[in-house]
């Protein structure tokens, strides 16, 4: 049961994440002037759902906060509080706290301090968002949500509201014996029950009340049929009878009143206890089953509340944000298993096509099979794909925080957030994205004063976009800030020993230096960027995903960082290389260029190290066969080999291989955990001929490999 609950709770937190994204999107739209009812209703419902689940799972603090937040949203939704800039701003801030509450409920971080915000929300409720001072913030606070127990699964009592109306349409099985039964013993309960005339509407059934009372040991002692009309006037859907019952005194009063939960409001109910000795019963009116029931339902029919349109309501925004339509949740590992199997299928297919002659391939309709296989593979991969919006969702808040910290004004434009990317990729681009945004605010966007001086609007713009092109997703962070100050970057790189003072670099190469390890131009270590992790971390994270980072910058106009990411982590664009009579897969993302060395171009530096001279600069060269301790039967000279220049965290390095066999997409298979991990091997794949090739992990391979003479060299061009 607990496992099951944990699982359900995990789903609840997923829903929270979705809800937060929806709410943030809606609030941001509201801040931008979109006050459509769909937008506001979407935000309301997102917060409302979080509240609902938080109660069910016993997250009291989250429940209390979301409840108060929801109250304000409800009033905004109902038009009672205008969504002014001030109100929207408060709601955005409340949203931030709500996010923290959700995180805390998941055990990620402490409970946020929310007292001030709660007071603020109450003030808005109190003043209807007019900005007036609240009467007394404390008093204004409505009782927090229906409280939940600290952690219990189902803490709270059920509040049954009953507006039902029973009516015993079904003739009650009362025998004359019952009616003539002896008077109740003293101390017993005496009950009189007159269902309202309309008691049987709305699916209620007064008979069930009688039956339940009988199950408690009650006996019907009388039925008053005085109100029963003539048969021709009788409306079978109305209730005309009055029942009296007696129950043993040992039955709890609450158990009796509970029976009336759904019939109470309009029905007359008396529950009296016979005085033990005294003949005069001390009459006590039955308390309403629940405190709220009375005002809710008794008395006059409710004021004609605005009726809800019955037809599917055109809540347009929903379709976009909430397309829950028909979905099932599937354990990710099942999808991975499926993807793995499809990968096998693809491989078997290519083995077949290698082994069969073109004629045989046609005969067995292999091309058709290959096409279907490919389609299945695409489909399965799309199952793991999710809108990149998830990764984008935390950006608006970050920007608000950054604006507050830096005093810079930034507006965000988001494009292509519905672009679908593999879930694994989404999870892993969060950090690089965060850093790129921070970098853009910290180093790109100027202060409002500087912007005005430069003839720009005081508010900077960051454009966050995603688009798919072929098998790649391009995620861009573009700012309209000052652009990269190349003089300064260059000077810094020289100072840090990243390039030599006389290096000749193109503008693009200088821009790339930002991603060099250990590079940071921040003159003062700000709270935001420049904490020792810089764009080099972005670069290495993205490359670990098989992606690349590109930078374009125009002085005075802004900088664009582009992450080119693979659509999936299961397939790798690889170069099949051969050394020591074996084939290996080199991730194409790492490959800068391939060089067939001229005699003398590869030179020994020390007895154990070599360099290659490339357009005036020297790069270290490693023989892959040596690195893996694989001796070839016919060791080749450099001139008989190829040097592949790869781009790694450690800078550009030449890897010497015998030949390049092919370039193809390979399905990544992870190596069994029982195998001893070998540094530099990231996985394996099965090639078209059925043989297995290991996939090289360049960064891991070269990490720690000595290359003391290696200057970081953008694109392996200069140093």
């Amino acid at each position: 049961m607990n496992d099951e609950l944990d699982e359900i709770q995990a789903i609840f937190f997923e829903e929270c994440a979705e809800g937060l994204a929806t709410a943030e999107e809606g609030l941001s739209a509201m801040a931008a002037g979109d006050h459509s009812s769909e937008t506001i209703a979407g935000v309301f419902r997102a917060v409302h759902s979080i509240k609902g689940g938080s109660g069910a799972f016993g997250h009291a603090a989250l429940l209390a906060f979301s409840h108060r937040f929801e109250n304000v949203l409800d009033e905004v939704r109902g038009g009672k509080i205008p969504p002014t800039a001030e109100v929207t701003k408060t709601m955005l801030a409340a949203f931030d706290i709500l996010s923290d509450h959700v995180a805390a409920a998941q055990g990620q971080g402490a409970l946020p301090a929310d007292e001030e915000m709660l007071a603020e929300l109450d003030r808005i409720l109190e003043t209807k968002g007019t900005g007036g001072a609240a009467a007394e913030p404390a008093a204004a606070a409505p009782a927090a949500a229906p409280a939940a127990d600290e952690m219990g699964f189902v803490p709270v009592t059920v509040e049954l509201e009953e507006f039902a109306d029973p009516f015993g349409f079904e003739p009650v099985g009362v025998s004359l014996d019952d009616l003539d039964s002896p008077p109740p013993a003293s101390g017993d309960w005496q009950i009189r029950f007159r269902p309202s005339r309309a008691a049987m509407a709305n699916g209620a059934e007064p008979m069930f009340v009688i039956r339940e009372l009988e199950e408690l040991g009650g006996r019907v002692t009388g039925v008053d049929s005085a109100a029963l009309p003539d048969l021709r006037d009788l409306d079978p859907e109305e209730s005309y009878l009055v029942w009296t019952l007696s129950l043993p005194g040992s039955v709890e009063e609450s158990a009796i009143s509970d029976c009336f939960d759904f019939v109470a409001p309009d029905s007359e109910i008396e529950i009296l206890r016979e005085a033990p000795i005294e003949p005069e019963p001390s009459k006590t009116e039955v308390p309403e089953p629940t405190a709220e029931a009375a005002p809710a339902a008794s008395g006059a029919p409710p004021a004609p509340a605005p009726r809800v349109a019955a037809a599917p309501r055109a809540e347009g925004g929903e379709a976009k944000t909430h397309e829950a339509a028909q979905t099932i949740r599937v354990d990710l590992s099942k999808l991975d298993m499926l993807l793995n199997l499809v990968g096998e299928l693809v491989i078997r297919g290519s083995i077949l096509s290698d082994r069969l002659s073109p004629r045989d391939q046609e005969r067995v309709e292999l091309p058709e099979l290959a096409r279907l296989t490919r389609e299945i593979q695409d489909n399965v991969m799309s199952l793991r794909a999710q809108p990149i919006r998830q990764a984008f969702s935390r950006v608006p808040r970050m920007l608000r925080d950054l604006s507050a910290e830096t005093g810079k004004q930034v507006q965000l434009e988001t494009i292509g957030e519905m672009t679908e990317v593999d879930k694994g990729v989404i999870e892993k681009i969060g950090d690089p994205l965060t850093h790129m945004i921070r970098n853009a605010v910290d180093h790109g966007i100027e202060s409002p004063a500087d912007r005005i001086a430069a003839g720009k609007s005081p508010e900077g713009t960051i454009r966050l976009s995603a688009e798919q092109k072929g098998a790649r997703i391009f995620v861009r962070v573009a700012d309209d800030g000052r652009g990269i100050d190349r003089e300064r970057v260059r000077a810094k790189a020289v100072e840090k020993g990243i390039i030599s003072a006389d290096a000749v670099l193109s503008n693009e190469e200088i821009d790339q230096l930002i991603c060099a390890p250990g590079f940071s131009t921040a003159e003062t270590i700000s709270n935001i960027s420049g904490r020792g992790v810089g764009m080099d971390v972005v670069r290495s994270n993205v490359e670990a995903l098989g992606g690349r980072v590109e930078i374009q910058s125009v002085p005075g106009e802004g900088t664009t960082f582009t992450m080119a990411l693979p659509l999936t982590l299961a397939i790798l664009d690889g170069m099949i290389v051969r050394f020591a009579e074996q084939r290996f897969v080199l991730p194409l993302a790492n490959v800068v260029e391939a060089v067939r060395p001229e005699p003398g171009q590869v030179q020994p530096m020390t007895p154990t190290s070599e360099v290659i001279e490339l357009r005036g600069s020297y790069l270290p060269v490693k023989r892959l066969s040596d690195m893996f301790g694989l001796a070839a039967n016919d060791p080749r000279t450099p001139e008989e080999s190829l040097v592949i220049i790869v781009d790694s965290e450690a800078g550009n390095i030449g890897l010497m291989v015998d030949s390049i066999d092919d370039r193809r997409e390979v399905v990544i298979k992870s190596l069994d955990e029982n195998l001893h991990p070998i540094r530099g091997i990231g996985g394996a794949t099965i090639l078209g001929d059925g043989s297995i090739a290991l996939i090289l992990d360049i960064d891991a391979l070269l990490a720690g490999a000595s290359h003391s003479n290696a200057k970081y060299s953008p694109k392996g061009i200069a140093a």
Binding site: H48, S49, G53, E212, D261, P302, P306, V308
Partner: protein, 121 residues
């Protein structure tokens, strides 16, 4: 025979929670994730009881109840609202739409079961 309950809620976790706790009490549970879906499902599964949330996309609980009540076969169907809302106004609206009763989330599984048996013994 075990009573069949259709639960309509846009939150998957809430539906699962209901299913888990009510299945354990001998009920059979079907689910739908919004009002429109609920209206479709109710005609397919013909339940003994409908439990619906109020705030849902596409068609909310009030709309669903009104639509269900328009179908002759469900005029007498017990319908319980299970919602975090508890304002008198909302309850009045639900009642006007044709709901049998209102249960406030979060719920206690045992008491929810008792409440269900009260309208659907």
């Amino acid at each position: 025979m075990s009573k069949l309950i259709l639960t309509v809620d846009d939150s998957a976790s809430m539906r699962m929670l209901l299913k888990t706790s009510l299945t354990a009490q001998g009920f059979t549970i079907e689910g739908a994730n919004d009002g429109v879906h609920g209206l479709e499902r109710i005609q397919e599964v013909n339940p003994d009881l409908l439990i619906t949330d109020i705030n849902m996309p596409k068609m909310d609980g009030f709309g669903l109840i009104e639509e269900v009540r328009k179908l002759p076969q469900f005029r007498g169907l017990p319908i319980l609202v299970l919602s975090t809302e508890f304002s008198d106004e909302k309850k009045a609206r639900a009642r006007e739409a044709g709901a049998t009763g209102w249960i406030t989330k979060p719920f206690d599984a045992t008491k929810l079961g008792a409440a269900i048996r009260r309208v659907c013994p």
